[in-house]
């Protein structure tokens, strides 16, 4: 029997881990600052340089620590930017809507790539799919629509949430969560 496994980027915050499917991650670079955007949107920290391109950047650390009320994070920790590719996205409409968005906002950035900022408390892990659990029925669809797909437990005192990073980033960006400067 072949066990189905997948590689995940795992980010640790004490008793809470968050895993992201590595499928549409195409690279990473050390974070050394960002340029500002022409709008403010919670958790978006600007544009970063990736080779000759500029890419929109989402601070996943800030998002997760705020929504999960996590407080064991060192704000001075070194960070890395993980690069994702929208061309590999399972959400066919995000690519078109993002392209329209950057045109209307007049942002000079790649329409195909996005990035999210994490600290160095992260690693790539291979996880057996059968160990991941869907949320209880009463929560399942709600959390799926909000970018949280399931969970598992490392031990009795810790939990691992499986998150859909594209859903989180692009729902916040494209569903009106921005204020123009």
């Amino acid at each position: 029997m072949i066990l189905k496994t997948a590689d995940f980027l795992s980010i640790n915050y004490g008793n809470y881990d968050f895993i992201i499917n590595r499928y549409n991650i195409v690279g990473s670079i050390s974070y050394s600052g960002s340029q500002s955007l022409p709008f403010t949107a919670e958790y978006f920290n600007g544009l970063i340089n990736y080779g000759e391109m500029k890419i929109i950047s989402f601070d996943i650390d800030r998002f997760l620590t705020k929504v999960f009320k996590l407080n064991n994070i060192d704000k001075n920790e070194a960070k890395i930017s993980i690069i994702g590719d929208l061309k590999k996205s399972s959400y066919s409409n995000y690519k078109e809507r993002f392209k329209e968005f950057i045109l209307t906002q007049n942002i000079d950035c790649s329409p195909d790539l996005f990035s999210f900022l994490i600290s160095f408390r992260s690693e790539v892990k291979r996880i057996e799919i059968r160990n991941l659990k869907i949320f209880p029925k009463i929560l399942k669809n709600f959390y799926k629509n909000n970018g949280f797909l399931g969970c598992t437990f490392k031990d009795n005192n810790s939990i691992v949430f499986f998150i859909d990073i594209e859903k989180i980033i692009f729902d916040i960006l494209l569903k009106g969560g921005i204020k123009n400067e």
Binding site: V67, F68, F135, P136, K137, I138, L139, F142, N146
Partner: protein, 175 residues
Amino acid sequence: MNERNNINSLNNEEILKEIESKITELKKESVNDKKVKFIIFYIDDKLYAMPGNVVQEIIIDYPVFYLPFVPDYIRGLLNRHGEPYTVIDLKSLFTGSELDGKTFLVLRNKIDNIAFIISGIYKIENILEDNIHPLTSKNENMDYFEGSITIDEEEVFIVNIKNIIDRIANDIENS
């Protein structure tokens, strides 16, 4: 020897008759007097009841992992044999204040993976069906209950699981 050792002792024949009469009594009871098992539990100092057939187990002192974006009475998830269970705080649902409790009533998972956080268990009691009273009051909070029973001379409301789950599902949809 058939001698009696004292005036109150019974011979074997009499003992057997006594046993058989008890069995007959018990059988009559079970045919005519249907009983329902209830778990009587505390939320703070108030007693509530839940039908025993919906409760899988009672567990103590499990960590609850916080969940964002949902009403406060959904306290989070707990890990039961590797499966996530939604933890519901009935005190928070009824009154808006969080319960400081470490005991959980875990429901049978043919309903859903749900556990209620409570203060503690008072007792488990079999109640005659005839002694389960319908609700007479019609105020909003009574939607959470499906009747009442009398335990140690106190009226104890029976939690209506279905209505509670429906309320939660509705609140989550509107979150």
